[in-house]
Amino acid sequence: MRTDTIDRFAASLSGADASCTRVEAAGLPDALDDVVEQPAVGVPLGIDGVSLEDTDVEMRPTPRLLRESETGVTRVHGIVDYGTFVIQADEAGTEPVSLYPTTHLGVVCASDLHESVEETASWLGEEFDEGRDSAVLATGASATADMGELVSGVHGPQRVHAVVLTDR
């Protein structure tokens, strides 16, 4: 059941030109070594038993790091239907870290995958009530057709990569 959900999320990501890696929580640091383009900046993920401290990801973002990093690593939730990331703003800087670097790498627990926009809304409603009241639904790379043809990589990330923690 869960594998099926992840499969469909991965398929939707691929439709949005985003890539996907699946890994168990314990394997995250190694997986990041493989997929993260350096330099990278991140914020604490807040997932039990998972830490980025032993990786090459710089964990105290500064404006300079936002500007110069290739990759930004944050936790996200996912929407299966569209391969969407739900990025919740926080004081640590999840929003700018997911926004400024060229690549956004979203770490998503399998249990944080929501089937549809509708389902996401009922979860988000509760989050809003708890005070976590700013979130971005981000699907694929930033893009524009304003110059006459579709071009990826405008103000937001040019590449999007999901790492799904299959056992979380």
């Binding site: 300079r64 703003a89 926004l99 700013s134 979130a135 524009t144 110059m147 071009v151």
Partner: protein, 740 residues
Amino acid sequence: MSADRERKAAKIRHLLETEGDAVFENTTHVNAGRYETNGHRDDIDELRTEARAIKEDAIERLPELIETVRESVEANGGEVYVAEDAADANRYITEVAESKDAHTLAKSKSMTTEEIDVNDALESAGVDVTETDLGEFVVQVADEAPSHLVGPAFHKSTADIATLFNAHFDTDEPLETAEDLTQFARDHVGEKIMDADVGMTGANFVFAESGTIALVTNEGNARKCVVTPDTHVAVAGVEKLVPSVDDFPPFAELIARAAGGQDIATYLSLVSPPVDSPVVDFDEPDEPLDGSTDDREFHLVLLDNGRIEMREDDELRETLNCIRCGACANSCANFQHVGGHAFGGETYTGGIATGWETGVHGIDAAAEFNDLCTGCSRCVDACPVKIDIPWINTVVRDRINRGTDREFDWLVEGLTPDADPGGVDLQKRLFGNFGTLAKFGSATAPVSNWLADWVSLRAVMERVAGVDRRRDLPEFRRETLVDWFASCEPLATAGDADREAVLYPDTYTNYVLVDRGKAAVRTLEALGVDVSVVPSHESGRAPLSQGMIATARENAERVADGLNPHLDAGRDVVVVEPSDLAAFRREYGRLLDGERAQRIAANSYEVMEYVYGLLENGADADVLAGGGNVAYHSHCQQRTLGVDQYTEAVFERLGYDVVTSDVECCGMAGSFGYKSEYYELSVDVGETLADQFEEQNVDRRRLVASGASCHEQLGSLLPQDSTHPVELVAPTIERGPRTR
């Protein structure tokens, strides 16, 4: 041609030459994307209904929602200011900028800020404003007005933008491709965002209960404008208020499909400012964000500027449902060809602009372009919140007619055959009374037709009434359909089936294209229907298209009176001309009282829809003419009613090989193509249809069109004649002369 008509024609001609190609490419691309992505779900109509209900309820509760959002934003730590008008909003915004000692402001795309010209106000206060949406940035660099609600630079091609940027900026190498231009603009604008003292956004929706604003973008610029500087000003019309953030799903599903042909927008931000994210101060590049102690400031400026009055106005209120997706522009054949610099007012563009411009800038702002809405109704299906945009255009046209004071109005009113006031322009009055004119033309044919060909008369008609002399006028037939029907015997099979129908003799079918009426009678009788044809009034379509609502209502009442006994007798109403069927099914709901309108709508059928129903219920298809190659153009209003599918289904059943057009409208649109100021636009629109058919080797097929004006347009653009579908399938057997 009168000076005013010549001025309009010249403006349109200029825009067709300079901006037409880029607008066409951009709008038709996203319009096709809308059809495709809507096809990915089977519940689009349910979502539209849901979205509409949310908006309608919110508009109803607007005063209460303003109070709710004031409380929630203040509880979040922000401020709400309800601005009465543009000057009030600009004063507040410049005061905020001054209080922050701001010199730079980065702004994401917002039509509401265009409405109040906030950039000018800020520049006067010494604040440097940068538009960060790349389309808006292009328009800002060019010092032009946006030509589209969503694609402000839809009127510019890649080459146009390259020329603009290369002249304006000092780049190492000349910019050429869309990628070059995007990268350059992104970097240039990106620096401005990092340097900005204030971030300004609009809001696609404002959720009152949590003080949350929704921002929909693909570029990510709005996200950066919100998160980077410590001060955020959001400007939104009061109509953007929606009760709760729980209401966002239908809008999230609909807005990007309608606007850009995407299943979902790249970014949908739901932010409740001031946001928790740390301020990103690029002047302190090595200061960790999590140590940021900067306080954030947030101001929500809710703009009235006429909206509260629109809410009180039973007709203009409809406009407030608009979510500014631009689908009405993309689905509009006229807009696709000429763009928003013609089809738009001071701020807003496309079909819905008539409502916005009337409400926020005044009716004169709408009067200039309102006639570009032909009422083809293709935007009705496109609108994600089910706004009846053609009706708003009709109502405003009616008000424009009434608002014009002309000398001798009192004299005109006594002499005209209609119920509208004297202010109506002669051109509109002429076309609005087409039913009366056709009756006279038929009674005096062929003399009326000789006169119509007389060059001197055509020159006078063009000068006085703006009827373009490059168009052939309809040729009136001496024997009307009604006369013919009465003069001959029904086919022997008539009455064999268990159905009785009254064929509505619309003006064109009765006086001009009589053969399609005869074919309809023969077809129905061959299929066993007991048919009657009785004299009727013009449906009201003609005056309606000129904004003459009083006359349309009078005609509708007369038609309803005439049809009543037939409906009482259990007869179905069969209509040949799709625009008249559309009047019965759509506009009569606004012209007649509910029950009367409903009865006509429920019992009326387009002729091929009726044939389809008969065949489905066991009528013998073999009595009809089948086989052959057909190129079929269905009628715009027929497509909106969803009845074009029946013509295609009947063709298929009868073994025809059919190719179809997929343009939104032929461009003739009733009287539109006859009007001298719009003739060239009408031909430009029609050529897209002709080109499409020529690519499909139409010369080797029978050309078939459902609408009278489509028939006229095709006849003027292609060498071959067209017929109505029912003429193609009608049996060859003729009715005999009446014997007694």
